[in-house]
């Protein structure tokens, strides 16, 4: 009886852990070969592996992966750049330029991280 209860508890823990692990995965993905010319708005995480031109406005995270190319003005909560971004970023939480990231444009965010290897040209504004 006790072992059964322990097993159930373990299962619950595992499920909870899996849930946590899956959480960072974005539910919207713009794939490698996709080109979007226009505007993207939404309330959920967005991962870009393809090309987006225009404007991106989110209340969640934006992740530009290695193959991603963004030529857009970006307004989000949190941005992670491993690909190419041209345009201005306004984030109300954090902007991360990873070591593979290349960015041309102005960044306005309370926290800005630029990793070793990243390429950046533009202004930084960290005023709160």
């Amino acid at each position: 009886m006790l072992s059964a209860w322990a097993f159930q508890f373990a299962c619950l823990l595992v499920c909870f852990h899996l849930n946590l692990c899956e959480k960072p995965m974005a539910s919207t993905v713009i794939g490698n070969s996709i080109v979007i010319d226009g505007e993207i708005t939404g309330d959920e995480d967005l991962t870009i592996r393809g090309t987006v031109k225009g404007r991106i406005s989110l209340t969640a995270s934006l992740i530009v992966e290695n193959s991603g190319i963004v030529e857009a003005d970006i307004e989000t909560r949190h941005v992670e750049v491993s690909g190419n971004v041209t345009g201005n970023i306004t984030a109300n939480e954090k902007v991360e330029l990873k070591s593979d990231g290349r960015m041309v444009g102005d960044i306005k965010a309370p926290r800005i991280l630029i990793a070793d290897g990243a390429v950046f040209k533009g202004n930084v504004d960290m005023e709160r």
Binding site: S27, V35, G42
Partner: protein, 243 residues
């Protein structure tokens, strides 16, 4: 969000527009697209567009295949097939050699199954004939194919296109609608032209596009059953199957 667990969209070659995301503008690409959110504007894909029950698409759509379980407002040009499922609602015109409308689906607009070859570019027609053997262009020997008596032309059938050398025989593949459906509607286009007309049309086509000769020359060897009887009429017909 929970979508990533239930949806295969997190795989490499699928693009997902999530629940709360709205895209305005042009969306083009070379991979499958699942729309759970909203897309306004224009969609151009060489693969399959899937509109989930939560998805809303208000766009001019050009794809290979389309599966509609959500809402689509706009015209769809598909080089292979369009399927409107039970939850699907659509307003607009469909241009596709295969159109499947399942019982329960809502649809308003016109359907053209014959014009695709001349409209979306010839290369799509060639792709079709190589990838899907059942969707071939017409052959000139159409007189041998029988017309089943259960198919009757409704009075409201749309007028035939001006000319249609299109691969309408694909309707044969559109028949297998899912078994649990009580009454399924299959709309198939068939050519009402005489075989002589077809021959003259094809002759004209030969002059226009010599590269089509390979396809055309290969076709008469096919058995008549494979081509179906679709060469007979040019009108879209509504067939209601009940079981």
């Amino acid at each position: 969000m929970a979508i990533s667990k239930t949806n295969p969209g997190t795989e490499i070659n699928v693009t997902v527009i999530g629940d709360s995301v709205r895209v305005q503008g042009t969306l083009s690409g070379d991979e499958d697209l699942h729309v759970l959110g909203r897309v306004d504007g224009r969609i151009e894909l060489n693969r399959t567009l899937v509109v989930a029950p939560t998805g809303i698409v208000k766009a001019e759509v050009m794809v290979k295949n389309a599966v509609i379980s959500g809402v689509v407002v706009g015209n769809i040009h598909a080089s292979e097939s369009v399927e409107i499922t039970r939850e699907g609602r659509m307003v607009g015109d469909v241009y596709s050699p295969r159109v499947i409308i399942v019982d329960g689906a809502c649809f308003r607009g016109s359907i053209d199954m014959g014009d695709t070859a001349s409209m979306a570019g010839r290369q799509s027609g060639n792709e079709r004939s190589s990838s899907a053997p059942s969707t071939r262009p017409l052959s000139s020997s159409s007189s041998s194919s029988p017309t089943p008596s259960r198919f009757s032309s409704p009075p409201s059938a749309p007028p035939p296109p001006a000319w249609s050398p299109a691969p309408t025989s694909a309707w044969v593949n559109s028949a297998p609608v899912s078994p649990p459906v009580v009454a399924s509607v299959v709309i198939a286009a068939v050519d009402e032209q005489q075989s002589d007309d077809v021959e003259t049309l094809e002759a004209a086509e030969h002059e226009q596009e010599p590269e089509q000769e390979i396809d055309q020359g290969r076709l008469p060897t096919d058995p008549p059953q494979a081509r179906g009887f679709s060469q007979k009429s040019n009108k879209a017909r509504v067939i209601v199957k009940r079981k």
